[in-house]
Symmetry: C2
């Protein structure tokens, strides 16, 4: 029995806006940040979990974590994980706190930090990385981690168990393949909107030399400069590589459709977040209009009910699940199952602070246990801030190297937690 | 020139859970609460605004208000209101804070409290109730209060101005009619789920005697007790009165459809929140299946983009806009215009703390300036906590009496703010 003795939450921020890292059409000056949760126990391990934010307001998410803490402090870890779906329902349906969402925004970001810390703790106790812990679960156990409420018109628990069972025979072969080859990735950090052209060219060349074959650029300023940006990237990476574009929610629906005409010459694989992340109907209309360019979204998709509808309405070609926009891994598992049910590839959102560390586990789970496919899949990578993690994400030849350390790879060095503590850490005192 | 010198935010809670007031299928023990904003100025008036919450977590919304405050403190009120739509965009699209939503959950609830306080301040300065201030705006001015982003595939600013212009001729006649007759309402506070049957019977009889002809009950426990509850209400109010039912999001889509078969005998006018408030596709499916019972939703509808889709997908018969779930009156105006465009009646959500005070203005605006119709309209009323307001909502013969005091009717008595302050007010020290 491992009892959660205490929950600590830290406001952690990196001053990334100084270099315009992460800049896009609507987030001009992100300071990559996190509400960082530590679940202290009476056993050997502590559980670490973060939710990613971009600066101001991280203190609000920390306040929401404090409000939810009473649901875990004093509880036994195995009691929670043995009926994890029911626990998830209790956490997201607290009779008073649910008014603040339900299951969206600040309260759901806070839920993710706590829930992911529980998975980290469970995996450390089991001596396995999170992906391996999940892939070793029986289909019934994995399905029991999901709160099935609101999903049954698209997928029931029983159907999910059948799907998982059908994929079970190939699991160990796929595991071995991943350990040998790694998981396919694409790189975003060459194409931030705030970077001057020469910096973009240099970063593209360096990335090509390092084995990258899939690239993403930011768009959404004006058609001429967007076209220029795509042309520069295409020139540097050549026709044999994939190029994706990300508009970060900047357009109305008719505007997105018109704008994409200007970008047709650059052979884009997808346009990401062309409009409001809440607009299922709008994404479906855009998708019908801009093919063969695919439509991708998900990093701001508030919960599994939104993903369910994006899939039901055939509104997306790529499902960009986020590790902490949803209420932690339990809800991510629900979305992996829904996407497999609708045969839509999952290409997780990453970058920021810790998201690459998280999503390598999610993509492993998707391939080994859920979809069993790499068709159309590639996982985002951005080369920022990995030095702060005890077990940082690693890439080789444009692919994620399978993480092997026990846990969810999200624990940061104590020195980093000190340096990035806001507003009194050494990094901020220096500024 | 009126400068906003300071923003104060208070955590206000009423211990309503002690009497099971407000109890329903998912909110078993609400303590009606508010993040209460005061905009102090260098002029005669202060602006007051609240966002409604139900207890735990109100402190999180207060933290979000503090995070947004720098957008208003030091600003001139007329500078804000003269281009109110642009200001609303700045507030909801702060380059870092928008990550916490965007435009949903805690950060949007906080936005509402600030924005509604600005309207209160503007109306007090103009010496008019908010509804009258809005109805006296030129169509172009009213449309300029809306941020049109993400709406243009359903309704453009120019189309909205045309709609408003077409309704302008009858405005003063409708105003006079409302001052004479009041605005039609329905009552919820007879049918809370936690009330025993005898209490429900007594409250129904008292409400009938006071002139009420429209009633709502809570459902969603089990088909047998729901049927019993509907039968009791129908017995007391007779066949000539309207009866509505509210499930507060408790069902999955197939379950909602099946459950409503059990409630067919009771002649329900609508079923409210049959499933997840985010499920546009699900509401559309339920609506197709349960007619002639109507489908109503909106109190948890996160923003205008969700309402747009509910209307585009013909998913609702009644649009239950909320005064502070959306980002304040500017966004409510957008939804009134959208609903009029799709010819769906707006029946605002109310009850709680201060919501009746707010929505009487919204319904007046809808009738006088926007839709010009009462067909299918009635506005919620619950008889709790009005004594705390300086200008409380009043009803007569089951209709709201038109508010005439300058402002948004949301200012509370100083003694109430002291008594309900959490956790140190006299009401809580006594508990």
């Amino acid at each position: 029995m491992t009892r959660i003795a205490n929950l600590r939450v830290l406001d952690i921020r990196a001053p990334t806006s100084r270099g315009l890292h992460g800049s896009d059409a609507v987030h001009g000056d992100p300071d990559y940040s996190a509400a960082y949760v530590i679940l202290e126990t009476d056993a050997a391990h502590a559980g670490h979990g973060i939710t990613f934010t971009i600066g101001r307001g991280t203190e609000v998410v920390c306040a929401a974590v404090e409000a939810l803490a009473f649901h875990v402090v004093g509880r036994d870890v195995a009691e929670i994980t043995s009926d994890f779906g029911a626990f998830h329902r209790r956490l997201t349906n607290d009779s008073q706190l649910r008014w603040l969402g339900p299951e969206k925004g600040v309260i759901h970001l806070a839920t993710a930090a706590i829930v992911n810390a529980l998975w980290d703790l469970w995996a450390k106790s089991a001596g396995k990385p999170v992906w391996k812990l999940v892939c070793d679960l029986e289909p019934e156990e994995l399905a029991a981690a999901v709160d099935w409420r609101y999903l049954t018109d698209a997928l029931t628990r029983e159907e999910a168990i059948e799907m998982l069972r059908a994929k079970a025979p190939g699991r160990s072969a796929r595991e071995a393949e991943m350990r040998r080859d790694g998981y396919p990735a694409y790189i975003t950090s060459a194409g931030w909107l705030g970077y001057p052209e020469e910096q973009v060219r240099r970063l593209c060349r360096e990335a090509r030399a390092a084995g990258w074959t899939r690239f993403k650029t930011k768009v959404g300023i004006d058609p001429a400069s967007d076209a220029r940006r795509c042309a520069v990237m295409r020139e540097e990476i050549g026709d044999g590589c994939d190029l994706m574009a990300d508009a970060n929610q900047v357009w109305d629906v008719p505007q997105a459709i018109a704008w994409m005409k200007h970008l047709e010459p650059y052979g884009l694989r997808w346009i990401e977040e062309p409009t409001s992340p809440d607009d299922v109907v709008g994404h479906a209309a855009i998708r019908r209009a801009v093919g063969p360019i695919g439509v991708a979204t998900g990093e701001h998709c508030a919960n599994k009910v939104l993903f369910k509808q994006l899939l039901q309405m055939q509104a997306i070609d790529y499902c960009q699940v986020d590790a902490c926009r949803l209420g932690g891994l339990n809800e991510v598992l629900a979305v992996l199952l829904l996407a497999a049910r609708y045969d839509v590839p999952v290409c997780p959102h990453a970058g920021g602070l810790g998201l690459c560390e998280y999503v390598q586990h999610i993509s492993m789970i998707d391939y080994v246990a859920v979809s069993g496919s790499l068709d159309g899949r590639c996982t985002e990578f951005a080369d920022h801030l990995h030095e702060h993690f005890v077990h940082p994400a690693r890439v080789r030849d444009g692919r994620y190297v399978v993480p092997e350390a026990p846990g969810y790879s999200i624990e940061m060095h104590p020195e980093s937690l000190e340096a990035l503590a806001f507003p009194n850490g050494s990094e901020w005192r220096r500024a």
